[in-house]
Amino acid sequence: MSVPISYYLVLSGILFGLGVVAFVFKRNVITVFMSIELMLNAVNLAFVAFARAHQQLDGLVFVFFVIVVAAAEAAVGLAIVMMMAQNGQSLNVERAHSLGEGGPTYLPGGSAAESREALKS
């Protein structure tokens, strides 16, 4: 006998939900990064489960794509994390909102205008 597909899907859903919650609530950028990996792998699990249930290879092919994309994303993402650490001396995502209303303010302390001045010098 085999494990019913619903078990896999529920597990996948739980993992994905955990990933979302972690992404939204964690502040450390590396943790956030890990939660993205968690969501991707939750989806991978669902793909594999469906591929097995339907006895088709399509889902497995998708999983390979997702793994490739996740690897590329990890490379780019970690580079961004490095740069954040170098320029802002902080890995707190709350500080990194320079694309929002008010411009770059992720330098520790100070207003937006001060941060801009600091960036220029």
């Binding site: 979302v20 995502v93 909102h97």
Partner: protein
């Protein structure tokens, strides 16, 4: 055959002159501007003469001579009913008369203008407009269909506007220009509807095709008015505006704000007669619409009398002439309206001579007086400006209808037709005769006030001088024409042939509904000498002489009499002096309500509240919404993620709900 094939040259010459002067005139010396302006019109006149010479030898079967130069407008399917208009020009007897009158009087007035406008700014501009006017006027009379005529019709209106407002730094002049343009536009709207209705009815706008169609239709009667009457009336409303008839005449007196040669050319000799020309040209339609004919005659007759009464009390020399022009135009319409088209056109021609002359001499008087236009401040000028005096006297004799002068023959013919013509009416005749007496009175009043009596101005301040030869020579030529221009019709009085009517006969009888008897003026059974004598002592002539004598009695014999009479008939005098308060009536009944509607309703409510409100409201909604929504873009990745998550959950739930609903 050269000119007949290349008729467009007649149009090309003046517009070329207008273009050269308009584009380069500012940099050219005055002599060059003169030679371009006069040269182009002189060449036009030469070309017209050559055209007339060639026309003379044309066999009757080829008249009207139509030449189509290019396809101007095509619309609709390519069947017989398609809208297809060529730029085509036409020559027939009526065109010949108009061409000669317009180009010759135009040439004289161009020459006169050199002297009159010598010290004015915008010299080149003036001549450019004047040449442009010649172009449009010639287009109007030469067009072979209503569309080409309409181009000329609107073009002369434009030039009229430009030239009335020539001294554009004077507010009264620009106002007068606008008034002229807008008032004639009111008529032009009806004119345009008339053209469209004519196309709808006849399937063409070309004269010959239209008239053939009209000839096939059953003529309207007094009891039954149909499409023909509608077309005729609508076109006539256009003529009312253009030719300053009741009730759209108000612009012409104000148009005297323009330079005097302009008043002579546009507002006396040519443009204002366009309406008469149009009625005469469309005679096959009018002859089949008796109600429209009656309207033309009644409007003409009443205007002739009405304008003459206003002219009685005016003191501005040009205003008197302006009302006189309205009155004389009324005569022309009266002639056309009673079926005597040839008489109407005859009066148009003689009027171009003597009224053009009157305006030019008035200009000469104003020139001599250093700009003074008020007759009560003139007097005793007879000896000082003799050429002006004698030529003006001739013109006055002509307009008053004194036997022997041009106006006598044409006016007599119109009144004769009003009395015994095909659409005669005793009332119309009485109006015309009464107007003739009034005309004689106010014209001699003008002469006596201006040239006789003691000077009523400071002779030390005003240096009265005769005008230069450039101005007096056109006066003398026009005086010659005012005297002898009517003699072609003279044999009619003795029961003979009226050569003018005979010449125009093909135009008016080709499509006439019933045979026209135009040469039945003479009373049968009398010897020619007796007939001539009878015509010479006819009622119009007697009234003209009485008018002369009354004017003499009032302004020479008893200079105080006018004032006493004005006091006795105070109400009437004030009514006439204020021109029956028609301007005030229009101001109160039309202009003010329109202004109120525009200001209070259209501007302050519709525009400022509704339209601006809608536009600004849209912008406000967008701005407010944007202001709220932009808070979402905090730059905080986690809040973006929350929104994505909420959105995904919401969308999934929606999808599930939809599936649940679909499979139910």
């Amino acid at each position: 055959m050269f000119m007949l094939n290349y008729m467009w040259i007649i149009l090309a010459l003046p517009i070329l002159g207008a273009a050269v002067n308009g584009l380069f005139g500012k940099r050219l010396p005055k002599a060059a501007v003169n030679s371009v302006a006069i040269g182009s019109v002189a060449l036009t006149f030469a070309a017209v003469c050559e055209l007339v010479r060639e026309f003379w030898y044309l066999p009757a079967s080829q008249i009207p001579w139509v030449k189509s130069y290019y396809t101007w407008m095509v619309a609709g399917d390519y069947t017989a009913q398609a809208f297809h208009i060529n730029f085509a020009l036409q020559v027939d007897q009526l065109t010949v008369i108009m061409l000669l009158t317009v180009s010759f009087v135009g040439l004289l007035i161009h020459i006169y203008s050199i002297g009159y406008m010598e010290h004015e700014g915008g010299y080149y501009r003036y001549f450019s407009y004047l040449n442009l006017f010649m172009f449009f006027m010639l287009t109007l009379v030469m067009g072979a269909n209503l569309a080409v005529m309409f181009v000329g019709w609107e073009g002369v209106g434009l030039c009229s506007y430009l030239l009335i407002g020539f001294w554009f730094h004077k507010k009264s002049a620009t106002d007068a220009g606008k008034k002229a343009f807008i008032t004639t536009r009111i008529g032009d709207l009806a004119f345009m509807v008339g053209i469209l209705l004519a196309f709808w009815t006849f399937g063409s706008l070309t004269y010959s095709a239209m008239f053939q169609q009209a000839a096939k239709m059953t003529p309207d009667t007094m009891a039954h008015a149909g499409t023909l009457t509608a077309i005729a009336v609508l076109l006539f409303v256009g003529a009312i505006g253009k030719s300053a008839q009741l009730p759209l005449y108000v612009w012409l007196p104000d148009a005297m704000e323009g330079p005097t040669p302009v008043s002579a050319l546009i507002h006396a000799a040519t443009m204002v007669t366009a309406g008469v020309y149009m009625v005469a040209r469309m005679n096959p339609v009018y002859s089949r619409a008796p109600i429209a004919m009656m309207l033309v005659a009644v409007v003409g007759g009443i205007t002739a009398f009405y304008a003459a009464t206003i002219a009685l009390v005016q003191t501005d020399i040009k205003k008197v002439l302006a009302y006189s022009t309205i009155s004389q135009l009324g005569y022309m319409f009266l002639g056309c309206g009673v079926g005597a088209y040839a008489a109407g056109i005859f009066h148009l021609m003689t009027h171009a001579f003597f009224k053009g002359l009157l305006f030019l001499t008035a200009g000469s008087v104003i020139h001599a007086m250093g700009g003074e236009q008020d007759m009560t401040k003139m007097g005793g000028l007879r000896k000082k400006i003799p050429i002006t005096y004698w030529t003006m006297l001739i013109a006055t004799l002509a307009i008053a209808g004194i036997p022997g002068f041009a106006g006598f023959f044409s006016k007599d013919e119109i009144l004769e037709a009003a009395k015994s013509g095909p659409h005669a009416s005793q009332w119309l005749w009485a109006l015309g005769v009464a107007a003739a007496g009034l005309t004689s009175f106010y014209m001699f009043r003008l002469i006596f006030l201006t040239f006789f009596g003691k000077p009523r101005f400071d002779e030390h301040k005003v240096h009265v001088h005769e005008s230069p030869w450039k101005m007096t020579i056109p006066l003398m030529i026009l005086a010659f024409l005012s005297t002898f221009g009517g003699w072609v019709a003279a044999p009619r009085l003795a029961g003979g042939i009226d050569y003018f009517s005979r010449f125009l006969d093909p135009v008016f009888s080709s499509y006439a509904p019933s045979p026209v008897v135009s040469e039945a003026a003479a009373t049968p059974g009398l010897s020619p000498v007796a007939q001539v004598l009878l015509a010479l002592v006819g009622i119009p002539v007697i009234l003209a002489v009485i008018g002369l004598l009354v004017a003499w009695w009032f302004y020479i014999k008893n200079p105080n009499a006018p004032k006493q009479l004005a006091q006795k008939l105070h109400g009437l005098y004030i009514l006439l002096l204020n021109k029956y308060y028609v301007d005030e009536l229009y101001l109160g009944a039309i202009v003010r309500p329109l202004l109120w509607l525009s200001t209070k309703v259209l501007w302050q409510f519709v525009d400022a509240t509704v339209i601006d409100g809608a536009v600004n409201g849209t912008a406000t909604v967008a701005r407010e919404t944007g202001g709220e929504v932009r808070e979402l873009q905090s730059g905080n990745t986690r809040s973006y993620a929350s929104w994505v998550a909420i959105g995904a959950v919401g969308f999934t739930m929606l999808l599930l709900a939809f599936i649940g609903w679909a499979v139910r």
